[in-house]
């Protein structure tokens, strides 16, 4: 493959030790990147190095190790701020993932500002993590959850969205790129339209953060949530970005250490941002290692990564389409590097088992988006998703393995 944004794929692959692993006697082909990406050696080393040389609790200790750990922990926060184009580091809250980020907003903002009769808008494409927290708070507050419809390709119906907006719309929580189909939503337009009605917008960036250039100030979203285990970083760390004024106005989500200024049995005053939302000892090691993941992405640049992934996406799409009875769900122009498909007369679970036996990791099932699957009238799909270390050769292996599986099943 020739291109201007050519990357040294062998060099990249050599940085991911897990790619050397054999599965069922074959070299692993890892195509489940939308679930979680693999980690480069630098991220693994950063975790190891932290525990080996400067493990300490942060923000409180007056000793060298605590200083070093605190500095590294806060250096990551500053890097995340740059990564998503936030104005200030105080707007970056560490959570344990997208799920917790959304729950934090639904719970803290929702409990304080939602009124009975208010409306919350989500879309048919949402992951359960962006459905259930809103159902819970809507029920608690007597608010109403409304759902933007999609067409058969998974494209959101913007006319329907416009007609749903009204003075009762309090909040719009929308996925940036669908984990099940890869389809990218026009979040910029959604945010503008919602703001015209005074509604706030949270963008679920779990699938977009690693692929798309994120500039929360330009987007003008009120909140942005993502999980760093999908961005070559560790599990157990996620980010909630919120505009400072909003975060200031919201009460703490959990109580405990770190989040307080002063505690007495009569009254507790809360710490400033971002610590107000970070009760207890945080996930220090993984937060520190996250910086190495972001450095890894910067080293190549998102546009180069995207270029490579788009090449893989186009190649895979065209090869898959040649398989008889195979139908791509969400076969649209504007998507992240995810291909979801169904095959006539073949159950996705059967396919996953036969692919696993050939050393290929894909995802099958409803992808935590059951309402989307029922809207599309399917039990689930087989999903193939790419990262920077995947290759054309791996797609060829997949296609051969797929054909073999189909022959065995039919």
């Amino acid at each position: 493959m020739s291109s201007d944004n050519r990357i040294d794929i062998e060099n990249i692959r050599s940085q991911f030790p897990i790619l050397q692993r054999k599965v069922k006697g074959k070299t692993l082909v890892y195509f489940d990147n939308a679930a979680t990406s693999q980690k480069p050696q630098s991220v693994i080393d950063a975790i190891n190095n932290y525990y080996t040389t400067y493990n300490a609790n942060i923000h409180r200790g007056l000793h060298t190790l605590a200083d070093e750990a605190t500095a590294a922990f806060e250096a990551t926060r500053a890097a995340v701020k740059e990564f998503i184009g936030a104005k200030e580091s105080e707007e970056i809250i560490y959570t344990k993932g997208t799920t917790e980020s959304i729950n934090l907003v639904a719970s803290s903002w929702g409990r304080t500002f939602l009124n009975a009769g208010d409306e919350i808008i989500i879309s048919t494409l949402e992951h359960h993590a962006n459905i259930v927290p809103w159902q819970m708070i809507a029920e608690e507050k007597g608010a109403k959850l409304r759902v933007i419809p999609i067409n058969n390709d998974g494209i959101i119906d913007m006319d329907a969205f416009k007609s749903m907006l009204n003075e009762k719309t309090a909040f719009v929580s929308i996925v940036h790129a669908s984990n099940a189909l890869g389809v990218i939503n026009p979040v910029e337009e959604i945010i503008q339209l919602a703001h015209d009605f005074g509604a706030l917008v949270l963008v679920d960036g779990a699938q977009s953060a690693v692929h798309l250039d994120i500039d929360v100030q330009r987007l003008d979203c009120d909140f942005f949530a993502f999980s760093t285990h999908k961005t070559y970083g560790p599990t157990g760390i996620g980010i909630l970005y919120g505009k400072r004024a909003l975060l200031e106005s919201m009460p703490p989500y959990q109580g405990g250490g770190e989040m307080i200024k002063e505690v007495s049995f009569e009254k507790t005053t809360y710490n400033e941002l971002p610590f107000k939302f970070e009760a207890g000892t945080p996930n220090i090691a993984d937060a520190i290692a996250l910086k190495s993941a972001l450095d890894f992405i910067h080293q190549y640049g998102k546009s180069t990564i995207r270029h490579h992934e788009e090449m893989l996406l186009r190649y895979a799409t065209s090869q898959l389409k040649q398989i008889e009875g195979l139908k791509i769900i969400g076969d649209v122009e504007n998507k992240v590097s995810v291909v979801s498909f169904v095959i006539d007369g073949v159950h996705p679970q059967d396919l996953a088992i036969l692919l696993d036996n050939q050393g290929i990791a894909v995802r099958t099932g409803h992808h935590c988006a059951q309402p989307l699957m029922s809207r599309l009238g399917i039990v689930g799909t087989t999903r193939v998703s790419f990262a920077i270390y995947n290759t054309i050769e791996e797609i060829d292996i997949l296609i051969i393995a797929l054909k073999k599986a189909i022959t065995m099943l039919k």
Partner: protein, 146 residues
């Protein structure tokens, strides 16, 4: 169905059957074939009531009681899973309730199907076995799960 054979004998002969195959392809092709040949389950039993929760695919088991023995019929929308249903039916159908309840069913781990699904510790298979055993207990007193 030769109900004269004990569960242990049937299990041993299944392990034997599978040991004839050298490659994973042959093993799975055999399992898929068993799935395809499974005696069909009447449509009336393919409902929520007979569905087993805990699998990516749908599994339906209909259990009934006859001449002091427990019998099973089943189906799945995934053919490999249907093969597993077939294996469980081959082993358990036509046995006495207590024998079914006590069966360790280790053969599943011994026939060399490598996928997680074909391990008794997998959710789907465990749920299937649990339901079949539960039905055996219930049916002993009543007659059929309706």
């Amino acid at each position: 169905m030769s109900s004269a054979k004990s569960i242990q004998e049937i299990e041993a002969s299944l392990v034997d059957d599978f040991s004839l195959f050298e490659t994973w392809e042959e093993k799975y092709e055999y399992l898929i074939d068993l799935g395809k040949k499974l005696q069909p389950l009447e449509e009336q039993y393919k409902t929520e009531q007979f569905k087993i929760k805990g699998c990516q695919s749908s599994v339906w088991i209909h259990s009934f009681h006859q001449d002091g023995k427990i019998f099973y019929k089943g189906d799945s929308d995934a053919v490999i899973v249907k093969g597993l249903v077939s294996l469980m039916i081959t082993v358990l159908s036509g046995q006495a309730s207590q024998v079914i309840v006590d069966a360790p069913l280790d053969f599943i781990n011994e026939i060399g199907l490598s996928s997680h699904l074909a391990q008794t510790r997998s959710n789907g298979l465990r749920a299937m076995i649990r339901q079949m055993k539960l039905d055996a207990v219930t049916l002993q007193g009543i007659g059929s799960r309706e």
